[in-house]
C-alpha cells in the first residue's frame, strides 16, 4: 500500500518532533527502540525516551515515546504524537487517535486494512514487515526479533538517520559476536532498502546532524543513584524487589562487582541482602548503620508504608539510614508502572508520633548521583534517616545529563563519632548530649573501648546519657533537641535553585524533581505569551530560608507537582506557615509524566483568576 500523500501534507520538522512506538511487551522491540534512540544521540541531537509499560511480563501493550529536541527540551511535550509506529494491533485505535493532524502513521501493511481504520488528516506509511521477514527467515523467533530491526531500517530511511551510527551501535552491542552483528546489519538494510525503493524518503520529519548533545552522558536515574551509593561509601544494601526501584539495587550489585572487589583476595567490600520484606530491609540498614557501616535500601510507596515503624525508631534513637523511594502512583498497589510524586508527606512525617525527616529531591540522573553520595554524609552527620525522593520517570528512563564528577580529595563525613582515644583521654560522653548546640550529639560504635562509651539504644524515652527515663522534662528536652537538629539540617541539604524571568514579575512557581524539564520549557512558553514567572526548584527538606524569601517576594505562587493532594504545597503551608491562599495548586497525577504544555496551559488559565490583592503578608 502506498503513502496517501495526495491527501495530506505531512508536518515538516527538523530535529523537533515526538515519535511513539506501540509494541507488545516481550516481543524484543525494546532493543530496537533503544538503538533508534541512541543513534539520534550519536547524531548530536538531544532526545528523551520514555518507557510506558504495563504491570506485566509479556503480552500486554508497551509504548516507547521519544522526544527529539535540538533545542534541548528534555521534558514531555504533551499535545499528541508526530509519528506513531503502530506495531500492536491491540492498541491500534488509541494509537491512531493520538497522532496530531498532519502527523505520520507507520505500520505493517502485510495484511490489508479497511480505510475506516485510518484518518484522513494523517500521512499513512505502510511497510510489509511480516512479508519481508517471512521471506528472509524461517524460524519464528528470528522472524519476531528481526522484524524490529527491519522497521528500524525503514525508519532510518524515512527520517534520514545516519545509518552508520546504527551499525556502530550494533557492533558495540554485539561486540565479539560477529555473526550476530552481521545478521542485524543485514536486517537493518533490508528494511532501509525496501523503504528507499518503495516510499518517498525522507518524510517531513527528519533528523540532521547537530552538536547540542555535547559531552552529556545517557544514563538511567536508578543506575546513577546506585553509582552515587558506591562513591558515597555504602557497604550494605538490603532491599526487597518492587517496581520501580529494583533496578537501583541491581545496578548497585553490578557496580560493586566492578569496583568493590579486592583485587588480591577477590573478596567483597560490600554485602547485598535481598531481604524477606521491606521491614527486614530497613532493619538491616539500621543495624548496619548503628554499627558504623553506610547502608541503604531502595523501595517504592508500598515499601515506605511498611517501613514506618523502623523509621520512627531510627528518628528517635538517632541512627543513620538512607532510603531511596522511587515513587510510583499510589495509594495502595496503585499503578506500579506509572510515575507520581506521591509519597512526600508519608516520608516527611514517617511514623507515628512527632517526626520530621530529611528529604532530597534530585531532578535527573546527575543529581541522583550527587545527592546519593551526599545522603550518606548527611545520614552520618545528622544521625537520622535520609529519604532520596526519586520517581519512576527519573529512575527507570535513560536520560541525558551532565557528565558525573568526583573530587578525589573528598573524604567521607562520618559525623560525630567518639573514638577510643578520646574516650581513653577522659572526654565526657553522653549519647544524647547536645555538646555543640546544633542538636547533634556524639555516638560511639559498638566495640570501641573496653570500659567506656557503651550505651543502650532503644526506641523508648531516655535521658541525655541514654538511660531509660519516663520523666517529662527528659522527654520534652529530647524532642526539642530533635527539632533543633532538624533546623541544623536546613544548612546541609541542597539549596533550592531559582531562575529569574526575563521581565520583573510578581508570579512565581515552585516545583521539584522530575517536573523540572517540563517546568523550564513551560516558563519559556509562558514568556512568549507575555506571562512571566520566576521559578524556584526545591531540592531538599527542611526548606532553606531561600524558599520563604521567594514566597514573600511574589504575590501569587504556583506549586507544580505530580500528585492529587498538593503534598509539597501542604508541606510549605505547614512548615513555613504560609497562607494557603497564596499557593495555587498545579497538579498532574494520572501516572504519565507531566508535560510542558500542561503546566503552561494550567498557569495561563489560573493567572486570569488571580486579580486579588493580598489581605495580609505572605509570611508572618
Amino acid at each position: 500500500m502506498l503513502q496517501l500523500t495526495e491527501r495530506v501534507t505531512g508536518l515538516q520538522r527538523v530535529n523537533d518532533f515526538v515519535v511513539k512506538f506501540a509494541n507488545v511487551n516481550g516481543s524484543g522491540s525494546a532493543s530496537a527502540n533503544a538503538l533508534f534512540a541512541k543513534a539520534i544521540l550519536r547524531m548530536g541531537v538531544p532526545m528523551t525516551p520514555r518507557n510506558i509499560f504495563p504491570s506485566n511480563i509479556q503480552g500486554l501493550p508497551t509504548w516507547y515515546q521519544v522526544r527529539v529536541s535540538e533545542a534541548g527540551y528534555l521534558g514531555a511535550r504533551g499535545g499528541g504524537v508526530d509519528l506513531m509506529v503502530a506495531m500492536n494491533p491491540q492498541t491500534w485505535a488509541q494509537d491512531v487517535a493520538e497522532i496530531v493532524p498532519g502527523g505520520y502513521l507507520f505500520y505493517d501493511n502485510t495484511k490489508p486494512m479497511p480505510p475506516s481504520k485510518f484518518r484522513d488528516d494523517i500521512v499513512v506509511i505502510g511497510v510489509p514487515l511480516t512479508e519481508i521477514t517471512n521471506k528472509a527467515y524461517t524460524e519464528s523467533r528470528q522472524r519476531q526479533l528481526f522484524k524490529n530491526i527491519v522497521y528500524l531500517g525503514a525508519l532510518a530511511a524515512l527520517l534520514q538517520m545516519d545509518v552508520a551510527e546504527i551499525e556502530k551501535l550494533l557492533a558495540e552491542q554485539f561486540r565479539g559476536r560477529d555473526k550476530l552483528v552481521a545478521a542485524n546489519v543485514q536486517a537493518l538494510h533490508m528494511g532501509r532498502d525496501w523503504a528507499l525503493a518503495h516510499l518517498e524518503c525522507p518524510i517531513g520529519l527528519t533528523l540532521r546532524r547537530a552538536n547540542t548533545v555535547g559531552d552529556r552522558i545517557f544514563i538511567e536515574g536508578n543506575a546513577a543513584a546506585a553509582l552515587g551509593a558506591v562513591y558515597g561509601g555504602a557497604t550494605v544494601c538490603a532491599w526487597y524487589p518492587i517496581t520501580p526501584s529494583s533496578s537501583l539495587a541491581e545496578a548497585f550489585t553490578r557496580y560493586c562487582n566492578r569496583y568493590r572487589v579486592d583485587p588480591e583476595t577477590k573478596k567483597n567490600k560490600f554485602a547485598i541482602v535481598q531481604a524477606e520484606d521491606e521491614l527486614a530491609s530497613i532493619g538491616i540498614v539500621i543495624g548496619a548503620a548503628w554499627n558504623g557501616a553506610r547502608a541503604f535500601t531502595a523501595t517504592s510507596g508500598p515499601g515506605i508504608s511498611l517501613m514506618q515503624e523502623f523509621v520512627g525508631l531510627a528518628y528517635f534513637a538517632e541512627i543513620p539510614a538512607v532510603i531511596f523511594d522511587v515513587q510510583r502512583a499510589g495509594p495502595s498497589t496503585g499503578m506500579p508502572t506509572r510515575t507520581q510524586q506521591t509519597d512526600i508527606l508519608s516520608c516527611a512525617y514517617a511514623s507515628h508520633g512527632d517526626t520530621k525527616h530529611v528529604l532530597l529531591f534530585p531532578e535527573d540522573p546527575y543529581e541522583c548521583f550527587e545527592f546519593a553520595a551526599l545522603s550518606f554524609d548527611l545520614a552520618d552527620r545528622l544521625q537520622t534517616p535520609i529519604f532520596m525522593m526519586l520517581d519512576l520517570e527519573i529512575g527507570m528512563n535513560d536520560r541525558l545529563c551532565k557528565p558525573l564528577i568526583w573530587d578525589d580529595s573528598r573524604k567521607m563525613d562520618r559525623g560525630k563519632v567518639m573514638t577510643a582515644e578520646e574516650l581513653e583521654a577522659g572526654k565526657d560522653f553522653g549519647r544524647y548530649l547536645d555538646v555543640d548546640g546544633d542538636g547533634i550529639p556524639y555516638r560511639t560504635y559498638p566495640g570501641t573501648h573496653p570500659s567506656r562509651g557503651a550505651f543502650f539504644t532503644r526506641g523508648t524515652s531516655k535521658d541525655r546519657r541514654a538511660r531509660y527515663s519516663e520523666e517529662g522534662p527528659d522527654y520534652a528536652e529530647n524532642m526539642m533537641r530533635l527539632l533543633k537538629k532538624f533546623d541544623t539540617a536546613k544548612q546541609l541539604v541542597p539549596r533550592p535553585i531559582t531562575r529569574t524571568a526575563a521581565e520583573p514579575t510578581r508570579l512565581g512557581a515552585i516545583y521539584f524533581g522530575s517536573t523540572s524539564p517540563a517546568m523550564d520549557e513551560a516558563e519559556e512558553i509562558l514568556a512568549e505569551q507575555g506571562i512571566h514567572v520566576d521559578l524556584l526548584r526545591v531540592r531538599g527538606f527542611p526548606f532553606h530560608n531561600d524558599v520563604k524569601t521567594f514566597i514573600s517576594e511574589h504575590d501569587q505562587l504556583f506549586v507544580v507537582e505530580q500528585n492529587r493532594d498538593g503534598q509539597l504545597r501542604t508541606l510549605l503551608i505547614n512548615e513555613l506557615e504560609i497562607d494557603p491562599a497564596r499557593l495555587t495548586r498545579v497538579l498532574h497525577f494520572d501516572g504519565t509524566p507531566i508535560t510542558a504544555r500542561f503546566i503552561s496551559g494550567a498557569i495561563a488559565d489560573k493567572v486570569g483568576e488571580l486579580k486579588v490583592v493580598p489581605f495580609r503578608k505572605a509570611v508572618p
Partner: protein
C-alpha cells in the same frame, strides 16, 4: 523505672578470669522483672558464660526486640553496646550489625511473643541466612509484658490462669531452626544452670547461627496448674539427651566417664564440646534424626533438652557473601571509592 546505679564495690576475693575481670564486670543494671522470673536466671547464665569464656565485654553486642525477655539485655553486660529494637524485628537489626562488623560477638535475646508471632518471618530468615550469632528465645508460653495473653508457642490444651484453653497448634521454634539450617540448635530450662551455662558458652563460640530455646517460667502469668511452661511441668516432662562442657584448652580433664557415654566435638574455632550423653540413641550430628526424635517425644508430651544438633564446621553469612576480612565499619574512602578516573571512563561509555 529509672536507672538505679549498682554499687561498684565487690568482694576482693571474687575470682577473676583470664582478662582480669570478675563476674561483676559482666553484669548490668538491677533487674526490674518480677521476683523469681525465669529470665533473670538466664541473664545470670549469660553473665557466667561470658565470664567463663574470658570474653571482652565490649566486644559483645546484645540485641533484643520488645517484651519482658527483650528487657533483659539491660541486666547483663553493662559494658557492651545494646540495642532494644522493635517487636519481632531484632533479627534484621542483628543481621545488619553483623554485616557492618564481623569481628564482634552477637547475642540476640528474644521471647516467644517476639519470635514466634510477629517475629516468625525474621526468625526464619535469619536462621536460613546462617548469621553468626547466639539467638536465645526465653520461652514462657505467654505475653508477659502485656499481662498474660497466649503466645504462639503455647501448647494446644494449655490453660491460662483464668482457665481459658488454647485451641491453636503450637509453633515449635526448635523444629523450625533445624529445618531452616541453623548449625547449632539447643533447648534448655532456666532452672537448670548446669545444662544452660555450657550451652550458652558453646553457642557463643559457635561460628554460625546458634539457637537456644530456653523455657523460662513466667511466675506472674504462666506458672499455674494447666501451664506447660511452669516450673513443675517442665521438671516433670524434661528429657535431657545430653549435658555439655565447653573446653577452651585450659581446663584439665579430671573426671572419668563410662565408655560410650562421652563424645568430644571439636568446633571450628578450636574449642571442644564434651557431650555427656544421657540418651545413647541420640546423635547430635544427624539433623533429620533430631527432627524425628523431637517430633516423637513432643507427641508424647516430653520436652527434650540439651544440645540437639551441631555442625562443628559451619558456614555463616559472611562466608556466603565472600566479604573481606576487615570490618566494613573500618573501611574508608581509599578502600571504597572508585575515584575520578574510573568515573571518567564510565562517562565515556555512556555517550
Amino acid at each position: 523505672m529509672t536507672f538505679i546505679p549498682k554499687p561498684k564495690l565487690h568482694h576482693p576475693g571474687l575470682p577473676k578470669n583470664a582478662l582480669g575481670f570478675t563476674r561483676r564486670d559482666y553484669e548490668g543494671a538491677v533487674s526490674t522483672l518480677c521476683a523469681g522470673c525465669g529470665h533473670d536466671s538466664i541473664s545470670g547464665a549469660i553473665v557466667r558464660a561470658c565470664f567463663n569464656l574470658d570474653l571482652p565485654p565490649h566486644r559483645i553486642a546484645k540485641l533484643s526486640g520488645i517484651g519482658c525477655s527483650s528487657k533483659t539485655p539491660t541486666y547483663f553486660l553493662g559494658a557492651s553496646h545494646g540495642f532494644n529494637s522493635v517487636h519481632g524485628r531484632m533479627p534484621s537489626v542483628l543481621t545488619g550489625a553483623n554485616l557492618a562488623n564481623r569481628d564482634l560477638i552477637y547475642l540476640g535475646v528474644s521471647g516467644d511473643g517476639d519470635s514466634a508471632s510477629i517475629g516468625i518471618g525474621q526468625f526464619a530468615h535469619i536462621m536460613r541466612r546462617g548469621v553468626n550469632m547466639t539467638y536465645i528465645v526465653e520461652n514462657n508460653g505467654v505475653y508477659g509484658l502485656t499481662k498474660g495473653q497466649f503466645s504462639a508457642t503455647s501448647d494446644r490444651g494449655a490453660k491460662s490462669r483464668r482457665g481459658v484453653e488454647n485451641k491453636d497448634e503450637a509453633i515449635d521454634l526448635v523444629g523450625m531452626a533445624l529445618q531452616l539450617g541453623a548449625t547449632f540448635v539447643a533447648r534448655s530450662f532456666s532452672g537448670d544452670k548446669d545444662q544452660l551455662i555450657p550451652l550458652i558458652e558453646a553457642a557463643l563460640k559457635h561460628q554460625g547461627a546458634a539457637f537456644i530455646d530456653c523455657i523460662s517460667p513466667c511466675v506472674a502469668f504462666n506458672n499455674h496448674e494447666g501451664s506447660h511452661t511452669s516450673f513443675d511441668y517442665v521438671r516433670e516432662h524434661n528429657i535431657a539427651v545430653n549435658y555439655l562442657d565447653v573446653i577452651t584448652g585450659r581446663e584439665e580433664i579430671t573426671v572419668e566417664y563410662a565408655a560410650g557415654t562421652v563424645e568430644m566435638v571439636k568446633q571450628h574455632d578450636g574449642s571442644v564440646l564434651r557431650l555427656r550423653k544421657l540418651a545413647n540413641d541420640y546423635d547430635v550430628h544427624d539433623r533429620i534424626a533430631a527432627m524425628t526424635y523431637l517430633q516423637e517425644r513432643g507427641a508424647a508430651g516430653e520436652i527434650v533438652t540439651g544440645l540437639l544438633y551441631v555442625d562443628p564446621d559451619p558456614e555463616d553469612l559472611h562466608r556466603h557473601m565472600n566479604t573481606v576480612s576487615m570490618p566494613f565499619n573500618d573501611l574508608d574512602e581509599t578502600a571504597l571509592c572508585p575515584g575520578s578516573t574510573a568515573l571518567e571512563k564510565l562517562n565515556a561509555s555512556l555517550r
